[in-house]
């Protein structure tokens, strides 16, 4: 066997580090296994099993349609309120589930940090896999729902991956920040549900964008999450999205958060084993 002539040097590193994609690529199998472990575990010991993947957004959408559509009498803007709620929930879920899982993933598995060595970023990154699968399954379930409602899937569906990437950028970027903060400050996990609640109200999940008064619309759409959730709904329900400056801003914020979160994580990770 060829003996490595240049040694690996272990010493204290200071400051920022470059994003190392090669390192993550080397651990791609671990990334996938951790992601699918989550999927496998989620529905163990349930009667309905994987049916929950579809049932959850369906039940959620039904509840929203009942409260906001029937009782509050909001209009779906051309589509049945149930579909408005369903598509809103699909976008919201991939964001909130990924962010919640990513934030707690390190704290919940301290032995991964203290007993083995591998690029730690793999762990929060893997938390997106199960929500992505949920996302895809939910969209497949949407197709028959569209037909039932007298709608058809249209070419605007092709924009869905774009919104998916945008939503993942937001949730993983924030997740990188929060997971490394949570290693030292456990407050983060307690603060998060509250913050998500506010974000849920501030995004067009349970209601369509049209409900927001015209004069507040620009302000409202400064929230990149609102733009993404709305864009995803439009694309899935066959409506065009006007690519204005605020849409570009939302994608810019998403990409920036993702990269900044990654850099922050890479800087913080060397202390993880000391403080967790």
């Amino acid at each position: 066997m060829a003996w490595q002539e240049t040694p690996m040097v272990i010493r204290r590193r200071e400051g920022w580090r470059m994003i190392n994609l090669q390192e993550i690529w080397r651990y791609r199998d671990l990334l996938l296994l951790l992601g699918f472990r989550e999927l496998k575990l989620r529905y163990r010991q349930t009667v309905l099993g994987t049916a929950w993947v579809i049932l959850q957004p369906l039940l959620g959408a039904a509840a929203i349609a009942l409260v906001f559509g029937r009782l509050a009498g909001l209009k779906g803007g051309g589509a049945p309120y149930f579909l408005v709620a369903f598509t809103g929930l699909v976008g919201w879920s991939i964001f909130s589930v990924t962010l919640t899982r990513a934030t707690t993933c390190l704290v919940n598995q301290p032995q991964l940090i203290t007993k083995v060595s591998f690029p730690r970023l793999v762990v929060p990154l893997s938390t997106a896999i199960a929500p992505i699968v949920d996302f895809v399954v939910s969209l497949l379930a949407l197709v028959p729902l569209l037909f039932v409602s007298g709608l058809r899937p249209t070419l605007t569906m092709l924009f869905v991956p774009l919104w998916l990437v945008g939503l993942l950028g937001l949730s993983l970027g924030l997740g990188f920040f929060l997971s490394s903060l949570a290693v030292t400050y456990r407050d983060v996990q307690h603060l998060l549900p509250f913050a998500l609640q506010i974000l849920l109200f501030m995004s067009p999940v349970a209601y369509p964008m049209e409900v927001v008064p015209e004069r507040a619309r620009v302000m409202y759409r400064l929230n990149p999450l609102a733009v993404m959730v709305d864009g995803l709904r439009d694309s899935t329900l066959g409506r065009r999205t006007e690519a204005d400056g605020l849409v570009f801003l939302a994608f810019f914020v998403s990409a920036t958060l993702f990269v900044a979160g990654w850099l922050f994580f890479a800087r913080a990770e060397r202390r993880f084993a000391d403080v967790i």
Binding site: M1, Y27, R44, T114, K115, Y185, R270
Partner: protein, 430 residues
Amino acid sequence: MSSERPAVAVSGVSKSYVISHRAERATTLGEAVAQLFRQRSSSNQETLYALSDVSFEVHRGEVLGVIGPNGAGKSTLLKLLSGIMEPTSGEARVWGRVGSLLEVGTGFHPELTGRENVYLNGCILGMTRAEIDRRFPEIIAFSGVERFLDTPVKHYSSGMFVRLGFAVAAYMDPEILIVDEVLAVGDAEFQARCLGKMKEVAGKSDRTVLFVSHNLQAVRALCDRAIVLSEGRLVAEGDVERCVEAYLGAHREVSLGGRIGFERPPSTSFWMTEARLEIDGIASDLCPLGGSLGLVVEFEATTPVANPRFGFGINSSTGVEVLHANNRYQPTAEPLSAPASAGTIHCELGRVPLVPGHYTISFWLNDSLVDTHVVEHALAFRVIERDIWGLGGTPPPRPAALWWPTRFSIRPASRAEARASSQEQRTRNG
């Protein structure tokens, strides 16, 4: 077999933690914010050195034993070399792929099957799926859990769990293998197999092994060389025998007086709080030859324990376990009448026939099968010479482990017998 090329070179490595007294370390955001505005007082901060200025080299193909008492910095050293932690100062150089086994079955999930866990654990240890695919049959053969491969590991016995975990790591096949105290778990037969496997790894000429263990016999059997750590410093290096002596020698100071208190180990529900020696009924660590030895162990548990299992072993200064007792394999004279969450275990050994010398005692405490609290070489005592039989002298030192109080009887032969035997001797000689 070792070549002169180094596989690991550690130079001046220190690892320190700053700890604040009065529990002032900020672990919540509020405290952190409050601390920003507060004058930093250095008076109640203390720098704790887990390792200080440690330097040594391991040659390619060498098996190095790392020994030292609990808290000496052994695990910290291995974590630094594994890349889990960074040193505070100094640096280490490593030539080759490092595989470290600091815990058996890291990432094992109770709900996943044996097969699923092998893949997950293997990937966590740095293997690819393809590598695991190739080694899968060997891993399973070594672990001996073929029949339960598709059973969730929560249904495994603790022994099966450990076997599977070790098997995955054993087939990592790294150039530098780092092993921390994993042999403390599992049954004797499995420990022997693990040692065998490690010998096999060590036997390959270009494999380097760093091995932490309290099992001095295992260190002797496996290692070419050893280092001894004590309070974060390297106190001895070189020949294994000399290091074992140095370790046991240094350790004697620790529990002077034959009494030791224990901290509750993390994530343990059943643990020892104190252990003390009683010699001829008095707390002491000096045992005259033929003195009677007693051991008193206080325990606590979060949930009441019905059947505390307790074992101890006495090791001589050469590291040989000369005596072992365990109430798992023999009846308890006075068992608990009802489960208790705190209590005392009394062990009466009676007169012990140990020859004069230094000894250490190791403890194993468990509630069912898994050892919940193990402290190796927790107590030390000395057996000193004494004129037991009042003969006006003491027996000269012998290399034997025991000086057995034997009932000697010498009877003269009767006359007829004596004549017959002398006649017989004459005919044989003639």
